[in-house]
Symmetry: C2
Subunit: 216 residues, 2 copies
């Protein structure tokens, strides 16, 4: 038993030393990337119409932001030019329905949608949403998501930025470059992650394993 | 008659003055943008297989680069994960077949394709192309087009760059930023235009009416 214990102790020390070294080497200014495809958030009232009174969404995956999750359920969204099927619903329900599409979807749907931050919906167009039990024509809430970085106030302090600040982010690699006008969203309910959409990710060859940096 | 002639002379002078002023105001460092969707160039041998011996493509639209045009004909391209229909053929025929897809298409098709300049095909993967009369499995030639700027040697001199130089381009606006690693392609058979693909265009809210600038 003594032999096992000393071997275990050695192993434990080696692992701890390795972890400490890895932590020391990690560049603390690197920010993980979250890539968003088109998706929507529903109000309870719209969910009742689309899926039936009192319907409960089925969570299939937690997202990186605390309390946010992807649902099993999808809907069809429809504009004057065409429809896009299988648009994923994210939970939990929100006060207002918000549909986040890609810039390229505007052509398919026949709509003009501005780049906006989540929740900033005034003056945005509406869209038709079709579910298994009914359809909704929203008055507003169709946006292309403005790229942004979620973080805690502690992350913001460490990175030398503040909530609401507009920064640029740098992407390395053969398709790299700089995205301007990235909004910092710092609050206690966040986890550090830079959110860009699939077109922004593909254009710079970024994926959910990539890291970006804020430019000073 | 004299009256008409003097009116015409006045009008002509006004138009000429207006044009001269417009020319003077134009920022000579601005470069028009051409946005490319997925497309392909075919060799004569592959065209014979896909469309039948001696088939002639039907031109529907001249492109900005002299001698290049879009054809009426489209094909289906197919990988292990899926197929993409209605991929446009560009003419004239080339020595080697080259299929240019979007980064996002790599997931749909189930292929990994590098960002390469047109013609730089060594070591690139192949793809299955399906036409109305037959199909071809290419050995190589599947690329994501590396962004580039076509220009004449005179444009290059004026813009202070040279053929083969790698530059960065700047895009203004709320989704603006900088794309690095943009290749300058200067030769007498070119017209001034910066070529990016639809994902790169959508990510920065650029379209074929936009202008970009080379960063110094």
């Amino acid at each position: 038993m003594d032999k096992y214990e000393s071997v275990l102790k050695l192993l434990l020390e080696a692992v701890q030393a390795n972890m400490a070294q890895a932590e020391g080497n990690a560049d603390s200014s690197e920010i993980p990337v979250g890539v968003s495809n088109r998706h929507l958030h529903l109000s309870q009232a719209d969910m009742d119409i689309l899926f039936g009174e009192g319907y409960q969404m089925t969570k299939i995956k937690d997202l990186s932001q605390p309390g946010q999750y992807a649902c099993k359920e999808t809907v069809t969204i429809c504009g004057s030019n065409g429809a896009i099927e299988k648009v994923r619903i994210l939970g939990p329900v929100r006060g207002k329905t918000q549909v986040e599409i890609l810039a390229g979807d505007c052509f398919k749907l026949g709509v003009k949608s501005p780049a906006r931050l989540s929740g900033d919906l005034q003056g945005t167009p509406g869209i038709t949403i079709i579910g298994p039990k009914g359809s909704v024509q929203t008055a507003e809430g169709l946006i292309v998501a403005q790229r942004h970085i979620h973080m805690t106030p502690q992350d913001a302090q460490r990175l030398g930025v503040h909530d609401g600040q507009i920064v640029s982010i740098q992407v390395d690699g053969p398709r790299g470059g700089i995205y301007s006008n990235v909004a910092v969203r710092a609050n206690d309910a966040s986890a550090l992650e830079c959110h860009i959409d699939t077109e922004e990710a593909n254009a710079m060859n970024v994926n959910s394993l990539s890291k970006i940096k804020i430019m000073k």
